[in-house]
């Protein structure tokens, strides 16, 4: 990275025009709008491309499964692949991710199995993967609350002298929440190694950005807290990766937190239960579809000669394989034990819960007896 990240300005507003390294036609950008960042090497970009293609296939597959009624709900990240993956791919395995409900493809990129990711959306249990094993917190539904957890964990790691970074995603709507403010402020005051990725996908369910903030950019907010802020083209994975990587490196070296706004767009609805035609025009959606993050990188990689038909076929196969595995795992109904409802509330046994557990056990046994008797 050519940029000297040791001395990033904290009193200068981010550029109003989003920082980008690849334009929509897949051409490398030069000049001021790169913000001093340079394009990652082609191997890195090809890897990011692979991750994005696989992630989109997963997202499309899960959306289809949701329409078939296999999941209770699924918040799609279609269109946000560059923002999600450019950020999470810049983490080391020791680092911690604090995702929201919309960040399932980041979990996938982190190596978590589809069945483990989707347990909560299927309705089996609230969190289906081992947080410590993947260094990935449970997906948070209340807005911005997890950002404080990210700050706390990073602070603890710093007190322990462990070179660990925490990264958390927030949506544009979440920046209006008090916890976003508190997280930004705590991180800056404590100088925790935390990277805040604000995914500005233009809508909080149906509320547009203009009804969410009067700030020129969401990245502007960083200045008020005394940390660097970057306003980035969130559909340019090269820029998202380069900027996040610099922020992660800087945090790990003791440079404190960074706020990065990725300007992107949610192509799908908020979840399967909302109707986006009521709050946005198809022209708008088409406009953003023409700025697709995967196509943009594809053009560049083809022009560089690294995305050959062989490589493309290999990536497509990998994506289809994952989609098939996802379909398969979602067709198998999990065996749920209702008595487990009582097992994880407290570390120490509680008499009242033991009584309620026994009650349910008797009820289940009764239901079984009745079913067997009726046969």
């Amino acid at each position: 990275m050519s940029l000297n990240v040791e001395h990033l300005p904290t009193r200068t507003l981010p550029a109003e025009k989003p920082l980008r390294l690849l334009d929509n036609a897949g051409h490398a950008v030069t000049g001021a709008s790169t913000g001093g960042f340079s394009l990652p090497d082609v191997d890195t970009l090809l890897d990011l491309y692979r991750k994005m293609v696989v992630a989109r296939r997963f997202d499309v597959q899960v959306t289809a499964l949701t329409k078939q009624g296999r999941l209770a709900t699924y918040p799609s990240a279609y269109g946000q692949e560059a923002c999600e993956i450019g950020a999470v791919a810049s983490l080391d395995p020791v680092d911690w991710l604090f995702p929201t409900y919309r960040d399932s493809i980041a979990l996938l990129t982190r190596g978590i199995a589809p069945g483990e990711i989707l347990q909560s959306f299927r309705g089996d249990w609230h969190n289906g993967y081992d947080q410590h094993a993947y260094r990935t917190a449970a997906q948070a539904t209340p807005l911005a609350t997890q950002a404080l957890h990210a700050v706390g964990l990073a602070h603890a790691a710093r007190l322990r002298r462990d070179p660990i970074v925490s990264l958390t995603y927030l949506g544009d709507g979440a920046t209006s929440e008090g916890d976003a403010h508190e997280a930004f402020n705590f991180a800056a005051v404590w100088q925790t190694p935390t990277v805040f990725i604000v995914q500005n996908n233009q809508f909080a369910i149906s509320t547009p950005l203009a009804r969410q903030t009067h700030a020129t950019t969401l990245a502007d907010k960083a200045v008020g807290y005394g940390m660097p802020g970057f306003h980035v083209d969130g559909n340019d994975v090269a820029a998202m990766y380069a900027v996040t990587r610099a922020a992660v490196d800087r945090a790990r070296a003791g440079g404190g937190p960074t706020l990065i706004e990725g300007v992107t767009y949610r192509i799908e609805s908020h979840t399967n239960s909302d109707d986006p035609t009521r709050y946005r025009s198809s022209r708008d959606v088409e406009h953003w579809k023409r700025r697709d993050p995967i196509e943009r990188l594809e053009k560049y990689l083809v022009s560089e000669g690294v995305l050959t038909e062989t490589v493309r076929a290999e990536i497509t196969d990998a994506a289809e394989e994952l989609a098939a595995a996802t379909r398969e795992v979602m067709t198998v109904e999990a065996e749920l034990d209702p008595l487990e409802l009582f097992d994880h509330v407290y570390s120490r046994p509680r008499a009242a819960l033991a009584e309620q557990r026994a009650y349910l056990a008797a009820e289940l046994a009764g239901a079984r007896d009745q079913a067997e008797g009726g046969r």
């Binding site: 969190n127 081992d130 410590h132 950002a147 706390g152 925490s166 994880h344 120490r348």
Partner: protein
């Protein structure tokens, strides 16, 4: 009031007079010395030593990486403690005043209480949230609330409230050692109550209630600030020929049905006393539980002597709101004693 627990201190050291604030301070000091994962933070807990001086001298002793002043933001304090506990620390955070904890309500109920359950026990949060609570200290608005019902009715939280210095020390050490999050409520009006105490002391486990005065006619169920009220009522009732048993609940969640039930079955009459408003309050749970489990042993309905169903009043009017020994005795008079 003397130390009310029945067990003797562990050490041979001769007891010295210690306030509840002093006992809490000693508990924090001993816990921090025993385990370097224990960190303490909150508003003004550093050089000032907390507005009630519970953290007095700790920063000088342990340094500002073990105990420090946080920004003024309760949700931030609780939310960051969640992250720290996830990383293996044992944060003990202060909410300064009961009503100041409300901005942290979402973190408490949506994350602190649920983390262990949502992760099937893979992530536990060994954190303690200290909340100075209740009134009778002449505090202005927002400084005297009783918020215990909100926490106690939230599954996943453990909620305890000591009423004397010995329990304050012992229960805080136990809360810090607990792998689950504990809401540790400190009755402000008892901070300066003294008792002869030799530290360290281990009293009854914090999830158990304790019979602090034996009696045969009535069981008064109290916790925190109202234990003293109950004992005063019991003392005054002696003149009327009434033998009152007083149970200090100590733990609001879990509720010690066993100790309470044994006392109620012995006396056949029970009343619960608390400062918080009566409607939908903690006493409603107590009365219902006691009735459900001991109805055929009861000679009279379980009574509640509580604060009025009003926002906590101004200092010059709070004496009219708070339950007193006289109100307790007046309430007992409403029972039909000869039936």
């Amino acid at each position: 009031m003397n130390a009310t627990t029945t067990e003797a201190p562990r050490t041979e050291a001769s007891p010295t007079q210690l306030t509840m604030a002093g006992a809490l301070n000693a508990a924090l000091r001993d816990a921090m010395a025993a385990d370097d994962r224990v960190v303490v933070y909150g508003e003004d807990v550093g050089p000032l030593g907390g507005v009630f001086r519970v953290t007095d001298g700790l920063q000088a002793e342990f340094g500002d990486e073990r105990i420090w002043d946080s920004p003024l933001a309760e949700s931030g304090i609780i939310g960051t403690a969640v992250g720290m506990a996830m990383y293996g620390m044992r944060p003990v955070v202060e909410m300064q005043f009961d009503a100041f904890s409300y901005p942290a309500f979402e973190q408490m109920v949506s994350h602190v209480a649920k983390m262990r359950n949502r992760t099937k026990g893979r992530v536990t949060l060994p954190m303690v949230v200290r909340i100075p609570c209740a009134g009778a200290i002449g505090g202005v608005e927002h400084h005297s609330d009783s918020s215990e019902t909100y926490w106690a009715s939230t599954p996943g939280l453990t909620v305890v409230m000591p009423s004397n210095p010995a329990d304050a020390y012992s229960m805080l050490r136990e809360a810090i050692a607990s792998d689950d999050p504990v809401v540790f409520m400190e009755p402000k009006s008892r901070y300066w109550a003294k008792a002869p105490l030799a530290l360290p002391v281990t009293t009854t486990p914090m999830d158990r209630a304790v019979v602090v005065r034996e009696g045969t006619d009535v069981t008064l169920l109290a916790y925190g600030p109202t234990v003293r009220t109950a004992l005063e009522a019991a003392e005054a009732a002696v003149d009327e020929g009434l033998s009152i048993e007083v149970v200090d609940l100590r733990s609001l969640s879990p509720f010690d049905d066993e100790t309470v039930g044994a006392s109620v079955r012995k006396t056949s009459r029970a009343a619960v006393i608390h400062e918080a408003a009566q409607f939908g309050g903690y006493g409603a749970e107590v009365a219902a539980r006691v009735t459900e489990r001991n109805f055929h042993h009861l000679a009279a309905p379980v009574l509640r002597i509580a604060g009025f169903d009003i926002p906590y009043p101004s200092p010059k009017l709070e004496e009219h709101h708070l339950p007193t020994a006289d109100r307790v005795l007046a309430a007992l008079d409403t029972w039909e004693w000869d039936a």
